[in-house]
Amino acid sequence: MARLIGLLCGLLFGIGLALGGMTNPRIVLGFLDVAGAWNPTLVFVLCGALATTFIGYRFALKREAPVLAGERFHFPPRKPIDAPLLAGAALFGIGWGIAGYCPGPAAASLLAGHFGTLVFTIAMLIGMAMGRR
C-alpha cells in the first residue's frame, strides 16, 4: 500500500510540476531573473503548493499516526542552523541559477530525451553520492 501511495504521489507531483511550468528551465530561470525579464509563474506554483500543505498538514498532523498501518510520522531531526545547511543551500542555489533545474523537475523531464537533462541528472546523482560520505 505504501508503494501505491508512493506511485500516486509521484504522479501527482509530476503532473503539478508540468502544469506549473517547472519542467521548463526557461520559466524557472525567468523566476530567478529579478534584474531582467522577471517571470512570476513560480510564485503562483509556490503559493498553490504552500497553501495546500500549510492548511492540509494542520489536519494531517493532528492524527497520532499516518493512515497506513505500521507507519509513523517521519520528521527531520530538530537541529540548529549550521554551516552545512547554509553552504549546501547556497551551492544548490548556484546550481539552480545556472541550469534552472532542481531535483524534481530534472527527474520529471528525463523521458523527453534531451541529452542535457540526462547529463544534469547523472551529475546530480554523483553530487549526491559525494555529499553522503
Partner: protein, 141 residues
C-alpha cells in the same frame, strides 16, 4: 516557449502540495525529492520500493499533462552540457549536505514552520538569483 497562465500555475502548485500532503497523511513522509532520490543511491534505504515508485510516477506525470495542454510541457535544457554537468554536481551535493531541496525545505519545511527550512529557502533563492544574474547576464552562458 509557451507561457503558463497564472491559474494553471496555481493549479500545478496545488497538485504539488496535494502530493506532499497525501504522502504525509498516508505514509508519514516528507515529500522531499532530493531525499527520496538520495535514499535510492547505495547504501540503498530499506524502504526503497515506495521511493522508486514515486520517482517513476514523477517521470511519468508530465506525460499525462501533455495531451491536456496540447503541447509538451517539458522544455529544452537552457544551457550547454558542461554547464549542466557543473550545475548538476552543485545541486546534488548542495541538497544532500543541507538535507533538502525546493520541495523539502521550500514546501514541506515551510509548512511545518521550520526555521531551518526558512533559512535554507531564503539562502537558495538568493543564491539562485545571484547565480542567474552572474551566469546569464554577466558571463552570458
Amino acid at each position: 516557449m509557451v507561457p503558463v497562465f497564472w491559474a494553471q500555475a496555481l493549479a500545478g502548485g496545488v497538485c504539488i502540495g496535494g502530493a506532499a500532503l497525501l504522502l504525509m497523511f498516508f505514509s508519514g513522509r516528507v515529500a522531499g525529492i532530493a531525499g527520496i532520490i538520495n535514499n535510492l543511491l547505495p547504501p540503498v534505504a530499506a524502504d526503497w520500493q515506495w521511493r522508486a515508485l514515486f520517482v517513476i510516477g514523477l517521470i511519468a506525470g508530465p506525460w499525462l499533462v501533455a495531451p491536456l495542454l496540447g503541447h509538451n510541457p517539458i522544455g529544452l535544457p537552457a544551457v550547454n552540457l558542461p554547464e549542466l554537468a557543473v550545475a548538476g554536481l552543485l545541486v546534488g551535493y548542495g541538497t544532500t549536505i543541507s538535507h533538502g531541496c525546493t520541495s523539502s525545505h521550500g514546501v514541506c519545511g515551510l509548512s511545518m514552520l521550520s526555521l531551518r527550512s526558512l533559512v535554507a529557502t531564503c539562502t537558495f533563492v538568493a543564491a539562485g538569483v545571484v547565480s542567474m544574474f552572474v551566469v546569464h547576464h554577466l558571463l552570458g552562458w
